[in-house]
């Protein structure tokens, strides 16, 4: 048994002249939470749907739990749970009936009430799907994917439309999945989601992987500069020329991460000596979003 859950080499998918996926390599280990990030049209969903067995690839090697998903074997589908980007369920069944229906397709499903409880729909258990809000229906999608107790889960933008509380709850579910050894393949638009959940992140743009690594050090994020921002009260002296002025009237300093402590110290010492306060002082390390925007934007320019 290999300890790779997913292995992809040289994956290509073309629709006529359009190259949706232009040769990508991916490897996801068993028990890992892997996030695929990318703007719309980057090839994210095409890639996931090839892994899920919905699309046939044009070229390349794909192995999911040791199977070629293009063969659509039932033995593979019994071990995989899927949350698609947009799917429906029968509106006339209740939440519990719906989860029970899908759980029954799998050889050793989880307890229906437990799954319903897990996604926070316990008090909606006997409500027909018709009457659920958009966010509740999305939670039902997650419940259905969990119902079969699959070892590999594909979650295509699973928290779209969630309120912040529901998102935190969904994150907890995903964290729990990985703690019991499940493998999760996630796509998302939310950087904080990838940051919070993923062991590893790959950024896809124009059908190719432009960066891959742990979210903390993706594309040299750990070597990028920290931003220090502040405002000065009226009458305060101008700061020295390394601070540049922002459009909103505040100031920003950039610092390498190892210099940040000293720079903040110098800045606050200067303010104290001069006898005024620094309003809205913020120290922000480079976010995954900064890295992501930089990666996908530069791709746009070179394309």
């Amino acid at each position: 048994m290999s300890d790779r859950a997913i292995e992809v080499t040289g994956l290509r998918k073309t629709y006529g002249d359009l190259e949706a996926v232009a040769g990508i390599d991916l490897a996801v280990d068993v028990g890992e939470v892997f996030a695929l990030l990318g703007p719309n049209g980057a090839g994210k969903t095409t890639t996931v749907e090839i892994l899920e067995g919905y699309r046939q690839r044009t070229a390349g090697e794909v192995s999911v739990l040791g199977f070629d998903p293009a063969g659509r074997e039932r033995a593979l589908r019994e071990r995989v749970g899927i949350v698609l980007q947009s799917t429906g369920v029968d509106p006339y069944l209740t939440v519990r009936e719906t989860v029970a229906l899908y759980a029954g397709y799998y050889p050793s499903p989880r307890d229906v009430d437990e799954v319903v409880e897990l996604v926070g729909l316990a008090e909606k258990g006997d409500t027909r799907v018709l009457k659920l809000s958009g966010g509740q229906q999305r939670r039902l999608d997650v419940a259905i994917a969990l119902a079969g107790d699959a070892e590999l889960l594909f979650l295509d933008e699973p928290t779209t439309g969630f309120d912040p509380g529901a998102r935190r709850n969904a994150w907890e579910i995903v964290s729990n999945l990985s703690s019991i050894g499940k493998t999760v393949f996630l796509t998302t638009h939310y950087m904080d989601e990838a940051q919070h959940l993923a062991n590893r992140v790959a950024v896809i743009a124009h059908g190719t992987i432009v960066a891959e690594g742990p979210p903390g050090s993706l594309a040299g994020r750990d070597r990028m500069r920290t931003s220090i921002r502040f405002r000065l009260p009226p009458g305060a002296p101008e700061p020295d020329r390394t601070a540049h002025r922002l459009p909103d009237g505040g100031y920003e300093l950039r610092a390498d991460q190892e210099e940040t402590t000293k720079l903040v110290h110098d800045l606050t010492a200067w303010a104290l000596e001069s006898g005024f306060v620094l309003d809205a002082l913020e120290v922000t390390p480079p976010s995954l979003e900064d890295v992501y925007l930089e990666l996908t934007a530069s791709e746009d320019v070179t394309a």
């Binding site: 919905y54 899927i82 799917t87 029968d90 027909r128 079969g148």
Partner: protein
């Protein structure tokens, strides 16, 4: 779980959802009975002359033609529209990603409408027997009637599934399905008997398609000679259309929204 068990389980859920959908239940069950009452009330006292020259009590005729109408509505019209809606809502795509075999899913839908068809025919027959003195088939006629209902419902369900790939989206489903079936219902003696005076081309046209053959097979099996002769050839034509429908459905059926 075996595929048979999965199919049986799927039928139960399909049935549960069916009865909770007021529109589907209404159009499938109330519509044909409503038509039966209207036709029989307006025209029930007279007799009709069929192509073969035989005379029929009109209310008796409508018990049979509305039974066929209800089978076609349940199996063809409602199945094609319902499956297209499920396809567009992503339900089919989701199901496709589970271990449930596609044949179990679609098989359950087809068997469910076949069961509904039997129920509908029984209701029409009971209604006719209670209110319009229509005879009920017994013995050989009963067995033949059951075979006709099973072959007819399975064939029209296959044709309904075969039509879905030609329907671009759920909004287009009702007009497209009705456009394919309504003209045939009119020329095939569902709403009014096609008498001996009908132009030849109408007869030729209705001869090609399966609706009139199902009506004839039903009249023949339900009432039998001397009122109406039963012919296995009619059942054969319906079954042949069913086989073509099944082949087309297997070849072109789409589990994902077309857009």
């Amino acid at each position: 779980m075996s595929e048979l068990m999965l199919t049986a389980r799927q039928i139960r859920y399909t049935n549960k959802a069916f009865w909770r959908n007021p529109a589907a239940a209404f159009f499938t069950f109330v519509f044909p009975l409503m038509f039966l009452v209207i036709f029989a009330t307006l025209l029930g006292s007279g007799t009709v002359t069929l192509e073969n020259g035989r005379e029929f009590n009109q209310s008796t005729y409508y018990v049979a033609s509305m039974a066929v109408f209800s089978v076609i509505t349940a199996c063809y019209t409602n199945l094609a529209i319902g499956v297209t809606f499920q396809r567009d809502a992503g339900i089919l795509k989701r199901t496709r990603g589970t271990p449930l075999p596609g044949s179990a899913y679609l098989g359950a839908r087809v068997i469910h409408v076949m069961i509904m068809s039997i129920l509908l025919v029984v209701i029409c027959a009971a209604f006719g027997w209670l209110f319009y003195d229509a005879d009920l088939p017994t013995g050989m006629s009963l067995i033949r009637s059951i075979i006709v209902v099973l072959v007819g419902s399975a064939s029209f369900a296959a044709l309904g599934l075969a039509l879905t790939p030609a329907i671009p989206n759920a909004d287009a489903a009702p007009p497209i399905v009705n456009a394919t079936i309504l003209p045939l219902l009119f020329i095939s003696g569902i709403f009014f008997p096609v008498g001996p005076d009908a132009p030849q081309w109408i007869e030729t046209l209705s001869d090609v398609f399966p609706v009139r053959h199902l009506v004839d097979a039903f009249l023949g099996s339900f009432y039998g000679p001397p009122l109406f002769d039963f012919s296995w050839a009619d059942v054969g034509v319906v079954a042949a259309w069913g086989v073509v429908g099944l082949a087309l459905a297997i070849r072109f059926f789409s589990w994902e929204p077309r857009t």
